[in-house]
Symmetry: C2
Subunit: 274 residues, 2 copies
């Protein structure tokens, strides 16, 4: 039996969303999900206060009864607690997989920097609210149950990470930033103007010296500006990779959408089920 | 006679905007403005190609006939050329003041890091398009003519810089970032969600160890989110300053608005006219 603890380091989900995910999970007999009550708290923007989110995340990670910790939703907030949570983690936290993406990337980054457990970029329970979101949630459920069909198809012999571009930009140069030398770095973005994408690529590529290369996930829901930017996202990525001596390795099958694939950080995605 | 070269490292202005600024400038007999034709070029988002913007900025900076270089407008783009321009600058560029704000902060940052000339956070010609924008433009015109009435009122004996928060965030940790130890750092923001402000403060305060303190300018035009953030901008700034051991020094009289005051970088704002 693979046991999964779900908490919400950023924004809250509803009981109805949890029920829909639990209903799907009943199709995976080897899997047992437990939604921490903190998932449903709200405190302004967040799923409870910083202290409540920190306590729930540490509790899930430190409980030896669970094999994985799954972030319920992104939406901003994890970065306010991750540094503290890292200091709260004991031995039981080492043996777990941690699934998240989007804002949850700050958690994955901090865990990866400190060599704690197995960070995994993957769809979250809140994806159930998207049109067609069942497929995204099932992808993570199957992965948690030990299947590898949902892995990003371009994984190769090089270590890899995957991040939302803005999330990675905010992590660069901070105590949450892992050493990514030799890594293939995948980035995706949603709901940012192309000029902001360009600005983010300046910043991120300036921080990514020594990586094996960059792959661009989907850049979705780009708002219309008062002036056409004149370049598409792949041109922007190529431009900044070239400027900063980084190999541009083409597209990646990740994004803020229901097709978002799974990327276990490091070399964990290759070979037999972990 | 104080001679001012105006070019557009980011977005273009119109001839009509330039004419309105020139009309105001006629009230300052000691001042002569020259709009570089590059100000009116457009190439997608930008005021001409990267090569055209770089050439115009270097030309203005390297021309000994000018005492100051004034960025016509922000809006994104300077960061694509500033590193190259810094390599283009000769002796005549050292003796100048450089006025800009918003996206132009990337130029001010790079100049300040390399000790070139006198970077100054100040209203730009494009502010003429704001309601009441004449007052903002006159503030810079008077400063360029040698008056100090438009200086930010809180300048004291400590060196200072002023930036748009997002612009500073993108500069952090890059080759454009100056050493700000011992500085009072002022930041302002416009048109960003409060959760994004919080995220930016995490990033920026993680990079600002050793500064004398942070002052918060105006945070304007905050878009409404689907959920109320629950904290106002000053609380956010205080939170992150406290987290990262930075003194929060209160408000600053800067912002993306017509009241935006002038902040000469370093200690240049004090004492006699430079």
């Amino acid at each position: 039996m693979a046991r999964v603890a779900i908490c919400a380091p950023s924004r809250a989900i509803t009981e109805e969303m949890a029920d829909r995910v639990l209903a799907l999970a009943s199709d995976y007999p080897g899997l047992e999900l437990q939604f921490h009550p903190q998932c449903f708290l709200t405190d302004g923007h967040f799923a409870g206060s910083d202290a409540q989110r920190r306590a729930a995340l540490a509790e899930c990670a430190n409980d030896p009864a669970f094999d994985s910790v799954w972030a319920a939703r992104g939406g901003y907030g994890a970065v306010r607690i991750v540094e503290d949570v890292l200091g709260d983690l004991g031995q039981a936290a080492q043996d777990k997989r941690y699934l998240a993406y989007s804002d949850g990337g700050t958690l994955l980054a901090g865990l990866y920097r400190h060599g704690i457990g197995q960070p995994v970029h993957a769809p979250m329970p809140a994806d159930i609210a998207r049109d067609g979101g069942e497929g995204a949630v099932r992808r993570s459920l199957a992965y948690l149950a030990g299947e590898h069909a949902g892995l990003e198809p371009g994984l190769d012999s090089r270590p890899v990470v995957a991040f939302n571009l803005m999330t990675l930009a905010m992590v660069c140069g901070t105590p949450l930033m892992p050493d990514l030398s030799g890594h293939v770095v995948m980035v995706e973005e949603v709901a940012e103007h192309l000029y902001a994408i360009d600005r983010l690529f300046f910043h991120v590529t300036a921080h990514l010296g020594g990586i094996a290369g960059l792959r661009l996930g989907r850049v979705g829901d780009v708002p219309e500006n008062d002036i056409d930017f004149g370049q598409a996202a792949p041109q922007i990525a190529r431009h900044w990779c070239e400027r900063h001596g980084i190999r541009f390795l083409g597209e990646a099958d990740i994004g803020h959408d229901v097709a978002n694939k799974i990327v276990p950080f490091g070399l964990a995605g290759r070979g037999a089920a972990q």
